[in-house]
Amino acid sequence: MNRSIVPEAISRQPWQMLIPLCGLVSLGAAVLYSAAGGSLQPYALTHALRFCIFLVMAIFISRLSRNVFRTIAYPVYGAILGLLVLVELIGAVGGGSQRWLNLGFMSLQPSELMKPAIVLVLARFYETLPHAMTASWRGLVPAGVLIALPAIFVLIQPDLGTATAVCFGGVVIMFLAGLPLWWFLSAGGALMVIAPIAFFTLLHDYQRNRVLVFMDPEGDPLGTGYHITQSKIAIGSGGIFGKGFGNGTQSHLQYLPEAHTDFVFATMAEEWGLLGGLFVLTVFAIVIGWGMRVARRAPDRFSSLLAAGMTATMFFYVMINLMMVMGLAPVVGIPLPFMSHGGTSMLTNMICLGTIMAVNRWNRGGGSLS
């Protein structure tokens, strides 16, 4: 095990990741402060508070032992799957699609929780799968079913973005679990054939439209292409140093849609410029690089898959969101981790982070709760 030169007491927490992350969250809070027109309410304060609360939760998660994770993997997966079904049922009865369960004190989006859950359950599955079967159908089909079930339920909500995220997390685990490479290559090949067909048959109109508009946002600048166009204007007009804190016109004059959630990066880039953008990218690189290192250092299959999967899930958020705001991907409702205002997204990402921190602690052989 790679011993750090930092004393044990201090390096108990992964400060090399946490400090930049706190910087990122602070920047996020600052951007939200500006997006609210120079006010802590309603975004910035709750954003910072949520981060603090969920950080405590993440630290708590990181204290859990490997066995706890192993034990709860299937029950958690099952429970969340049940919630997904419940959401569908309520939606069907109530008429119209629904993604949230109203718990009274908060609204819960089970599909979000499914992103870490799928990673957890697959890591558990491949740990228990006899090694020899990895390359056989028994290494593929159960895992495929585990991914497909929630993905289908999320897809019919309909929420293409989250369904893709669930699949992405699952497939990364399968890839890292050592399934034969040619499976992925042929699956990729098949996908290229199926995707166009699916595009014209399975997708909802508005989803198809989003993809079409992504191909040519200027074709419909006041309609669906509006989001992408305005986001690019915000980022592009910021220049190298940005327009200065609180001076963003795109966000303040409401040209930028969803300036505090999905398009928060554009809001930030308008005011902080390329430097702010590079800072955000650097912090994400640090966090994700740290996550991947933790995964590679993990001693056993379960924890390495778990850490890598959680990292991949977070990476997927970052990648899709940033590509979307920069006009490289169609508009899908995926927020930017640690910057976008939104409780469920923060919760999911902190669960991922907490899990990676747990693996990190296991790597160092630290004690665990229970």
């Binding site: 890839f175 915000a234 592009g236 880039a269 299959r301 390495s304 920069m326």
Partner: protein, 697 residues
């Protein structure tokens, strides 16, 4: 550890070690992909914010800053003394830009409530919206009080597409009196915008001239729009003003019109359908040019509502036609001084007489004098002041039509004049060549006979008659002018000997002041004499009506041309009263207008008394009529035809004006017995038996 390649297709040998190994390798791959995507994002970010920075900066600016044009204040139109005939008044207004409206019906309902619009106004608004093209603003209301304006202004965020403005709107202080003279303004139509791509045309609140002077001088009156740069949100709410460039008001146009005379004449016409022209017969300056009834250009400028349209198109007094320029009438006996002048020119001794027995046989027909009892011995002066037809029947046959027609042209009949107006109908001065050209028929003696008493093919408009009066008065080529500030050079002489002019002038003076046909046309001043000539023009044959009573449409037109003072003419005036029942309807108007010209107070006293009998000023009567209409029809009036259609309608109205029958050469010969005439005239066209120069009643 080693993979058995021979068994590869069945099942590879998998151990913890191989899996760990593959995990490590694949983790590196994934890390590499992640790093690659990170670099891609960084590159994209750099590209957007560094290399495309200029482009996006510009786009952000054009998002943020909204350049709105401030409609320029329209140039004023002044009368000769600087009194405004058309001005601008500060105004609170509300417009809709249709393409920015999201929930049209809800917005309209809300506006209707806030502005307390009547159902009729709501209906008109709907009509306007249906016709509107997306780019142009549609006026909802103008001239609002502050409370209603503020009520809409504060709710603007909930009313997308609605624009409130403090601006200026056109104001015509004397309303209907100047409607035909000045015209009116209105929002530019799509056609107008296509012809003239000036962006100010589609600025909310900007109006273009739609008729008459407003249209003719559109370019001069327009001015230059100001501009306001404002910061706006995506939903169009104005955050703050950035900078403002003031508008440049349009040029002021000063007319020769005297606002007082114009207004007086319009009011004096009263309930009649009539035209009055007053000219300075020394310079040609038009002092008044009014045609009544008229629309109110103030309410026309807000857009023509259904009810207004119905009211105007129902009116048989054709308020949409400018009778001064587009009304054509057989001039009746008003041509007699002109014909007499041509006789003098042809060498006729004015003292040569003819015995009038009440009629004259021409060929196989008898042409009557209006005075069936006859005038006895008639010389030229008596022929004019008594308006004896037989005198003219007799000598016209001797002189022939061509000298008469030539004189008519010299005095301005059959011509249009270089005036800044939308159109003039110049009518007909018939002569043998013209008849041959037009109808392919030979000129007949009875055509001459008809023409000498201003019937037959003769058609003139009231402006020409005023010009004729001026030229008779001065013997000079007086050209009517409307724009003030031109040089007052002495006009060239017509080349008519002064003694001829003096003779005619004296005869015309005797019409009112001597033993003439209109003694009541005398001015109420001991020292100012009016010289004039009456005229009664038949509209239908005696078989249809006697011209004095019966159906309004069948009554004779009344004419009067005059100038004053008779000995040193200064003002000329012509009056036409459509279907007035004879000249008795026309000369009192001319007399009172000239009375006003010389003594305003005296004129006003007469008018005030008359107006109490008529139910108020033209504006008050128009208002009352509108109220009656809205009570009767409410929202049931049919939609207003589009701009182009209504224009066509107006033009057609003017074109088919000739109330004058085109008499065929074969038209029934007038019989000595009026009863026989009636039975012998089956055609609708009235017989050429004029009953001209009606006597005062």
């Amino acid at each position: 550890m080693k993979i058995n390649f021979r068994r590869f297709l069945r099942a590879p040998h998998v151990t913890t070690g191989t899996l760990r190994n593959s995990f490590d390798r694949r983790a590196v791959v994934i890390g590499g992909i992640q790093g690659g995507i990170g670099c891609l994002l960084a590159a994209r970010m750099t590209y957007l914010s560094v290399f495309e920075n200029e482009k996006y900066k510009l786009q952000a600016e054009s998002n943020r800053v909204n350049l709105s044009l401030i409609p320029p204040r329209r140039g004023w139109i002044l009368d000769r003394n600087g009194q405004p005939l058309a001005s601008n008044r500060a105004d609170f207004r509300v417009d809709i830009i249709p393409e920015r409206m999201t929930e049209g019906d809800r917005t309209l309902a809300e506006l209707g409530k806030l502005l307390s619009l009547t159902p009729i106004a709501m209906q008109d608004l709907q009509d306007k919206l249906e016709k509107a093209r997306g780019f142009a603003a549609v006026e909802v209301a103008s001239g609002l009080d502050w409370e209603r304006f503020a009520a809409v202004s504060v709710r603007l965020p909930d009313l997308p597409g609605v624009v409130t403005q403090r601006g200026y709107s056109r104001f015509y202080p004397t309303g209907p009196a100047v409607g035909h003279l000045i015209g009116y303004v209105g929002a530019a139509s799509a056609e107008e915008y296509e012809k003239d791509r000036d962006p100010v045309l589609i600025t909310p609140g900007y109006k273009v001239g739609k008729d008459a002077l407003e249209k003719f001088y559109e370019k001069d009156l327009r001015g230059k729009p100001g501009a306001r740069r404002v910061e706006v949100t995506a939903s169009g709410r104005i955050v703050r003003d950035l900078d403002t460039r003031e508008d440049v008001p349009g040029k002021t146009i000063k007319l020769t019109i005297d606002a007082g005379i114009q207004d007086y004449a319009a009011r004096r016409i009263g309930p009649e359908s009539a035209a009055v022209v007053v000219m300075d017969c020394q310079t040609g300056d038009l002092l008044a040019m009014c045609s009544m009834p008229c629309f109110d250009p103030n309410s026309f400028s807000d857009g023509i509502g259904r009810l207004e349209w119905k009211m105007l198109s129902d009116d048989d007094h054709v308020p949409l036609r400018n009778k001064v320029l587009r009304g054509l009438y057989p001039p009746g006996s008003t041509v007699k001084p002109m014909v007499a002048l041509s006789f003098l020119e042809a060498g006729l001794d004015p003292n040569e007489s003819v015995i009038c027995n009440g009629g004259l046989r021409v060929g196989n027909r008898v042409f009557h004098c209006w005075q069936h009892r006859g005038h006895g011995s008639v010389n030229m002066a008596k022929g004019i002041y008594q308006s004896c037809d037989v005198y003219f029947y007799h000598f016209a046959q001797r002189i022939g039509m061509d000298p008469i027609a030539a004189m008519a042209h010299r005095l301005g009949l059959g011509h249009d004049f270089p005036l800044p107006v939308a159109g003039q109908s110049y009518g007909t001065v018939p002569d043998p060549a013209w008849k041959l050209r037009k109808y392919g028929k030979e000129w007949q003696t009875f055509d001459t006979v008809n023409a000498t008493i201003g019937q037959g093919y003769f058609l003139v408009n009231p402006l020409q008659q005023a010009v004729q009066a001026s030229r008779l008065a001065t013997g000079r080529i007086i050209m009517p002018r409307l724009i003030h500030g031109q040089e007052n050079t002495m006009q060239a002489s017509l080349g008519i000997p002064a003694d001829h002019i003096a003779y005619i002038r004296q005869a015309m003076s005797d019409v009112a002041n001597g033993p003439g046909s209109a003694p009541h046309a005398r001015l109420p001043f001991p020292d100012i004499k009016l010289a004039g000539k009456t005229g009664t023009a038949q509209v239908v044959g005696l078989n249809v009506g006697n011209g004095k009573g019966g159906l309004w449409k069948h009554r004779d037109h009344g004419h009067f041309i005059c100038f004053a003072p008779a000995d040193n003419p200064r003002y000329a005036c012509s009056v036409v009263v459509e279907h007035g029942g004879g000249s008795g309807a026309a000369y009192p108007i001319a007399r009172d207008v000239l009375t006003y010209v010389f003594d305003k107070q005296r004129g006003m006293d007469i008018l005030t008394e008359l107006e109490t009998g008529w139910g108020g000023t033209p504006e008050q009567r128009l208002d009352a009529r509108y109220k009656a209409y809205s009570a009767q029809y409410g929202v049931g009036a049919p939609a207003v035809p589009s701009d182009e259609e209504s224009r066509k309608l107006q033009a057609a109205d003017g074109a088919d004006e000739p109330a004058q029958p085109i008499t065929e050469a074969q038209s029934p010969a007038p019989e000595p017995d009026p009863n026989a005439a009636a039975s012998a005239a089956p055609q609708a066209s009235p017989s050429p038996v004029a009953s001209p120069g009606s006597a005062p009643q």
